[in-house]
């Protein structure tokens, strides 16, 4: 049953991923990308990571996609940019397919380690997923957390400076 559901969600995720790269209009690509993000959020719930699913919906589907659609509508291009020539598309697809083949053979040959950490799904259900993330982020990953906050500050300043009138 779970496997069936997984295949359904995976099918939708891959199909909407294909639509992202094949749609002519960028708006259609953006809507397909939202669908992919929702499918990934479903995967995160299936993997007992509800906080990550909520963040996925809020940050990706909520913030980033809204920003992208906003820019698409601001520039109002429609399908103005023409497609690449067909041999470019063929070579790009060959490279992508080669990469996927490589990853698949690696996955087929490899076996995951049997070493298990202490965070089982019982622990997640008992302590709470958000609490576990918070514990990890504010103890072991405190320095990266601070660096991420500086990165966000720099990004804010950079975005404001770049879109100023006299560039």
């Amino acid at each position: 049953m779970e496997l069936l559901f997984f295949y359904l969600v995976a099918l939708v995720a891959v199909l909407s991923g294909i639509l992202v790269i094949t749609c002519k209009s960028p708006i259609n690509s953006a809507i397909s990308l939202v669908m992919t993000f929702f499918c990934l959020a479903i995967f995160y719930v299936m993997l007992h990571a509800p906080f990550m699913a909520a963040i996925q919906i809020m940050v990706y589907a909520g913030a980033i996609i809204v920003l992208i659609i906003f820019v698409i509508m601001l520039l109002n291009l429609g399908t103005a940019v023409q497609a690449r020539t067909s041999h470019c598309i063929a070579w790009g697809s060959v490279v992508g397919a080669l990469m996927m083949l490589l990853a698949m053979t690696f996955l087929k040959g490899g076996e995951t380690t049997t070493v298990q950490g202490e965070i089982t799904k019982e622990v997640v259900a008992q302590v709470g997923h958000t609490e576990l993330i918070g514990q990890a982020m504010f103890t072991n990953f405190l320095l990266p957390f601070e660096i991420a906050s500086i990165l966000l500050l720099v990004a804010i300043v950079g975005a404001v400076v770049l879109t100023k009138r006299e560039v």
Partner: protein, 102 residues
């Protein structure tokens, strides 16, 4: 046999990453290229969370959090760059992105 293993998730993640790569290599609209990069980041995030769940370790999910932070910063700066470029050249075709070429 009928349970979802970590391999299932990794295969989906590899497919999404490759789709993103194909999109980056074959599209000329800079915004679509940008969306394909987001698709690649999400493929990586999926494998991070799947491995984190199946290995019982929290570190992967914290990394996903940081990837999302970087993606948000990238969205802000990247789209600002595109708007500045569009004001300058009236185009967002990646073939026209040659300001640094002499």
């Amino acid at each position: 046999m009928f349970t979802v293993t970590v391999h299932h998730y990794l295969v989906v993640s590899a497919i999404l990453f490759s789709l993103g790569t194909i999109g980056v290599l074959t599209r000329r609209n800079a915004i679509v290229v940008f969306m394909c990069i987001e698709l690649m980041l999400n493929g990586v995030n999926l494998s991070f969370i799947a491995l984190s769940h199946f290995l019982g370790n929290m570190d992967g999910q914290v990394f996903v959090f940081f990837v999302m932070t970087v993606a948000a910063a990238e969205a802000a700066v990247g789209l600002a760059l595109m708007i500045a470029f569009f004001k300058h050249k009236e185009s967002i075709d990646v073939e026209d992105f040659n300001l640094l070429k002499w």
